[in-house]
């Protein structure tokens, strides 16, 4: 029929439907239609008249449309799998049944197509984590066989097809109590297995449990909820939670982090259902989040099934206790690990007493883990983030959330830390828990390291992340060797992953720190340079990371005595931290401290003090008084105060600091004993030398106890200081022993270029000179001198110390010719040094020059020098200090001829002090004994 004709049909139709049916013929009278056209019109009118037709039509269209949308992307094949049907539809996508279709072999699978994944990055992550899940091989866990992406870009997961009935159906057939518990034990085993491999199920419910013909249960969808939740669809906000509300744990309902404890809750609820309970009341999320699960025996007693009511009495007591313990609202009060829940279930099956009824004896475990966390919070959080594989994803999700939610997330992560750590020991016999509670942090870490072996080799990423986290924690607990081993292994994996650039920078930064701890400065610098090189191009987007890398390079450079370069790095880092506002505050406190440290190494003590004081203020504000990082800066401040001769102030600072350190870190801590050493040094300078000796000895005692044969460089410093005390008191034998031991330790522990060795050599040399051992003294002075010249820039005051020692030695040998040259050089040096040496060194230098002056008969000059020395020393030491007394004695001897009265008075003054200060057999006593 032609179109034109149709227009007439259409016109006729319009006319007809405008009037009642009886009037149609009249309406048609004006229109002439052919026979065909008339037939057409009739059929159309008939269709129009059947009212129901209109409804059916629209329904049909709508349904067709709806059906088309639902089945929009369902393919016929996916990879080697041929889709044979649809098993169902869930919150995250559709589940299809499929068989293998490449002629290889027969296999039935279930394929879950996950809808709505948006970004390529999220899909990549899913692919990585899929590999982790695929490694879960357990008879009671549905295997994840593989996966891929549909042509439309949606990820799918291929899972073993389990021939079994859902748990609900199995339960509908009356099952004896014992069979139910046995089944439950198998489920617990599966969950515990997965937890050991750091996979959390997150969606335990009866619908996810199938029961095979032989009664063995299989868990479905392990960890898949997490993979799906991880993605945030492109701004849609259409992503909803994938959990099933009635079975969700309270923390899940509150939107908090999901942990292994959530799985324990899920298991408890499963047990509750297995024992005849129903969860309808939990459909109200508010109620579910705040009300405890009903007692199993109660629920069973009220069950509508006679068989359940029959065993209700047997549930009272033990089984009630298990359900209660597993389903506590507070995650930290549940069974700390699925294994422990399993142990109680097995105990019930064996007729043994339960742990849950013996009181909360996991308290010890939890307490230990909690304390551990308090000390190494950051490292452990990393560790657990790695364990949950949510490090990246959680961080990104958190960026979108409010600060409060983030705080909750962090609190929950901390609980996770506790749970994970306690879980680490869950394999132990609970009767041995008391021993476990005494495990040291070191042992905890080593166990963690051993657990790494559980991560299958097919998941290099997971293993690398754990290695990295453990490495960080090892470093934080002063075990740099382990840290380096682990971090290096992790580094290799991260280096191969272009998406892990930021992680790689962090690893190199920590590696640098660890190498520094081991005093392997070259390796430290190399690692730091790598970090800086990688971080610099990202300066705009990630200024903090760049700043951190600069910090580690600055430290490495400082240890190589490249002070100006180190300072440059710190300056730059400071600018970056300041630009980062709130987030940069932490780094800023460190950089302030480091600048003080470099200034100190450059001999610019006043400047160093100012930096340290800034650091202390900043740290107090940000971290509080009782934070170990604050302690660091306060003790550095005290040390520089002492160095500048402001001993009263230094003592006051230390007196306030030491009790805090004892309280927070303990008396056996490194910080405590080092501070005792510092305090000793300061007290020594204040002339309170017996208090000083007490402090040194206390510090050394603890050091020897903790370090054994392998004393550390820090202990060497304490040995050195105690030796100087002894030297001042004239106890030369022990002074020499102390210096020698200190030097030996320093030679073993320090980098050969480190000036600590030079100082120890100088000290020992001085002691040897006093005993007349000139040959060895000479060698030591030579070595010390060479080191200083190599390390220090020209004009550095410490170079003069070497020159003074040369002079002293030449005088002791009676080599006046050489002495004259040295003295001249020394005088010139003293005049031209931009920064004066510290008071004590200064006084020592002047005293040696004075000795030379006396030796060549220039009494006047000698007197002037000695007076100057006394003046300098007077700024640093109190009047009754033996050091001052000895100088007075020197001066007395020098003026004896010219001004005997003055000489006598000086001598009397000196004697008064020295009588008391010197030890009984001090050789200096001879100087004022005879007349």
């Amino acid at each position: 029929m032609s179109v034109l004709d149709y227009a007439r049909v259409r016109g006729a139709f319009d006319a007809c439907i405008a009037v009642e049916s009886e009037r149609r013929s009249a309406a048609l009278a004006a229109i002439s239609l052919s026979q065909d056209e008339r037939a057409e019109l009739d059929s159309l009118l008939a269709a129009h008249d059947a009212h129901a037709a209109h409804d059916e039509m629209s329904i049909r269209i709508r349904a067709a449309a709806a059906n088309s949308i639902s089945a929009l992307e369902r393919p016929a094949r996916l990879g080697p799998w041929r889709i044979t049907g649809e098993i169902g539809e869930g919150g995250m996508g559709v589940v299809l049944s499929a068989v293998r279709d490449d002629g290889e072999y027969e296999q039935s699978v279930a394929i879950k197509v996950i809808r709505g994944f948006s970004s390529a990055a999220a899909r990549d992550r899913l692919r990585r984590e899929r590999q982790i899940l695929a490694s879960l091989e357990h008879p009671n866990i549905a295997r994840l066989l593989g996966g891929g992406s549909t042509p439309g870009g949606e990820p799918y997961l291929v899972m073993e097809y389990v021939d079994g009935e859902p748990l609900g159906e199995w339960l509908a057939r009356a099952q004896p109590l014992r069979d139910r518990i046995t089944l439950f034990a198998a489920i617990c085993r599966a969950v515990a297995f997965a937890h050991q491999r750091l996979v959390v199920h997150r969606d335990l419910k009866p619908a996810n449990v199938l029961v095979r013909r032989n009664g063995s249960p299989v868990l479905l969808d392990f960890g898949i909820a997490k993979l799906v939740e991880a993605d945030d669809t492109a701004g849609d906000g259409t992503r909803t939670h994938t959990m099933t509300p009635a079975y969700a744990s309270p923390e899940q309902l509150r939107g908090e982090a999901v942990t292994t404890a959530s799985d324990v809750f899920g298991l408890g609820l499963l047990l509750f259902v297995l024992l005849g309970g129903d969860v309808r009341q939990r459909l109200d999320p508010l109620r579910a989040a705040t009300t405890s699960v009903d007692s199993a025996s109660n629920a069973a007693r009220n069950s509508e099934h006679a068989s359940v009511r029959a065993f209700a009495p047997q549930l009272r007591g033990d089984l009630d206790a298990i359900v209660r313990q597993a389903t506590r609202l507070d995650p930290t009060r549940r069974y700390p690990a699925a294994t422990l829940l399993l142990q109680d279930v097995e105990a019930w099956l064996d007729g043994r007493p339960l742990a849950a009824r013996a009181g909360d004896h996991w308290y010890q475990l939890r307490k230990l883990a909690y304390q551990y966390r308090a000390v190494l919070a950051f490292g452990l959080l990393l560790m657990l983030a790695a364990a949950g594989f949510t490090a990246q994803l959680a961080v990104e999700r958190n960026r979108a959330r409010s600060a409060e939610a983030r705080a909750l997330q962090e609190a929950a992560t901390a609980r996770e830390v506790v749970a994970f750590l306690t879980g680490m020991f869950a394999d132990l016999d609970p009767r041995r828990s008391p021993d476990t509670a005494n495990l040291s942090a070191r042992e905890l870490l080593d166990r963690g390291r051993a657990n790494l072996d559980l991560v299958p080799a097919s998941s290099p990423q997971a293993r690398a992340t754990l290695q990295r986290s453990l490495g960080d924690v090892y470093r934080a607990s002063s075990q740099p060797q382990q840290a380096i081993e682990l971090l290096s292994q992790a580094r290799a994996v991260f280096a191969a992953d272009p998406a892990a650039a930021a992680d790689l920078i962090d690893i190199d930064t920590v590696l640098s720190q660890a190498h520094n701890d081991l005093l392997d400065v070259d390796a430290a610098l190399a690692a730091a340079e790598r970090a800086v090189a990688a971080a610099q191009p990202r300066e705009q987007i990630d200024p903090q990371r760049f700043a951190d890398s600069l910090m580690s390079r600055g430290v490495a450079r400082q240890r190589l005595n490249r002070f100006d370069q180190a300072m440059a790095d710190f300056e730059r880092a400071q600018a970056l931290f300041e630009r980062s506002g709130e987030q940069g505050r932490r780094g800023l406190t460190s950089v302030l401290h480091n600048r003080g440290w470099v200034a100190e190494a450059q001999g610019r003590n006043q400047e160093a003090l100012e930096w340290y004081e800034k650091a202390v203020l900043a740290k107090r504000a940000l971290l509080g008084e009782d934070n170990p990082f604050t302690f660091n800066s306060v003790s550095a401040q005290a040390k520089v105060l002492a160095f500048l001769g402001r001993n009263q102030q230094a003592a006051a600072v230390l007196d306030a600091l030491i009790p805090r350190v004892a309280r927070v870190l303990g008396e056996r801590s490194l910080s405590y004993r080092l501070l005792q050493g510092e305090l000793g040094s300061v007290l020594q300078d204040l002339g309170r030398w017996s208090d000083a000796e007490t402090a040194y000895l206390r510090g050394l005692e603890i050091s020897r106890a903790t370090e054994g044969d392998a004393l550390s460089a820090r202990t060497a410093a304490m040995l050195n200081n105690l030796a100087t005390l002894r030297e001042e008191r004239g106890d030369l034998m022990r002074a020499e022993q102390g210096y020698r031991e200190s030097l030996t330790v320093r030679l073993r522990t320090l980098n050969p270029a480190d000036l600590g060795i030079a100082r120890a050599q100088g000290n020992l040399a001085r002691a040897l000179i006093q005993r007349g051992e000139l040959v060895e003294a000479g060698q030591l002075i030579e070595q010390a001198s060479a080191s200083r010249r190599a390390a220090l820039p020209a004009g550095h005051p410490e170079l003069l110390v070497s020159d003074a020692q040369h002079l002293e030695w030449q005088l002791a040998r009676g080599d006046l010719g050489a002495a004259g040259v040295s003295a001249g050089q020394l005088r010139d040096g003293l005049a031209s040094t931009p920064t004066a040496p510290a008071p004590r060194s200064n006084a020592r230098i002047l005293a040696v020059l004075a000795r030379h002056a006396r030796a060549i008969g220039d009494t006047q000059r000698a007197v002037a020098l000695l007076q100057s020395a006394l003046e300098k020393l007077g700024t640093a030491l109190p009047d009754n200090h033996p050091g001052i007394a000895l100088l007075r004695l020197d001066l007395a001897e020098t003026v004896r001829a010219s001004d005997p009265a003055r000489a006598r008075s000086l001598r009397a003054q000196a004697q008064a002090v020295l009588e008391v200060a010197l030890v009984a057999d001090a050789p200096q006593r001879a100087r004022f004994r005879d007349e």
């Binding site: 319009d14 329904i59 709806a66 059906n67 559709v94 709505g116």
Partner: protein, 184 residues
């Protein structure tokens, strides 16, 4: 999808001011958007009876937001409705082809309390609509906009530039015609 992000707002403005190329590009973008939205909706769960019209409304609201006069909105609605039909039909065609080629089992989804509906019924509808448009183009258009776009008479009228009453009559005719076609 292209790599460079397309500014749909600009595109819509260009299309509204009559640029021909804009329409083709815009249509393509709308098509992709509807597919994505459908997929996302599906993952959200809930009953399988997803309304095509709901998607169209949502897409229009999202793309136009609050800032458009009513005439351009209606025209845009019509464009989106057309693309919605295209999305559904394309999907149905693809599945049809798969079935014929792969020999896979016939997969259905219930969810509607009604006669078993297969994707073939949509293709039937589509082809019937094509035939109708050969007889009465405007009536076919009205049916499309009503059923795929969920548009009302007063919304369609300005697009097709006829009166509301004409739209009603077109709809009556189109429905009757299709009913007759599809029941034989």
């Amino acid at each position: 999808m292209s790599n460079a992000p397309i500014d749909l707002g600009e595109l819509i403005t260009a299309w509204h001011s009559g640029k021909a190329e804009a329409e083709a590009v815009l249509s393509r973008e709308v098509y992709q958007l509807l597919k994505r939205m459908a997929g996302a909706r599906l993952a959200q769960g809930g009953p399988a009876t997803l309304e095509a019209t709901g998607l169209v409304h949502e897409a229009v609201a999202r793309l136009l937001g609050g800032n458009s006069d009513w005439t351009s909105r209606d025209h845009f609605f019509a464009l989106v409705a057309m693309q919605m039909r295209a999305v559904l039909v394309d999907g149905a065609r693809r599945r049809s082809a798969d079935k014929r080629g792969g020999g896979a089992a016939h997969v259905t989804l219930g969810g509607v309390a009604d006669p078993v509906v297969t994707e073939d019924s949509l293709l039937e509808l589509h082809e019937a609509l094509l035939r109708l448009s050969e007889r009465d183009a405007r009536a076919a258009r009205v049916v499309e906009l009503t059923y795929f776009g969920g548009m009302r008479a007063h919304e369609i009228a300005p697009v097709l530039e006829v009166s509301d009453a004409t739209i009603e009559r077109d709809l009556a005719f189109g429905r009757s015609w299709l009913k007759r076609e599809l029941s034989t």
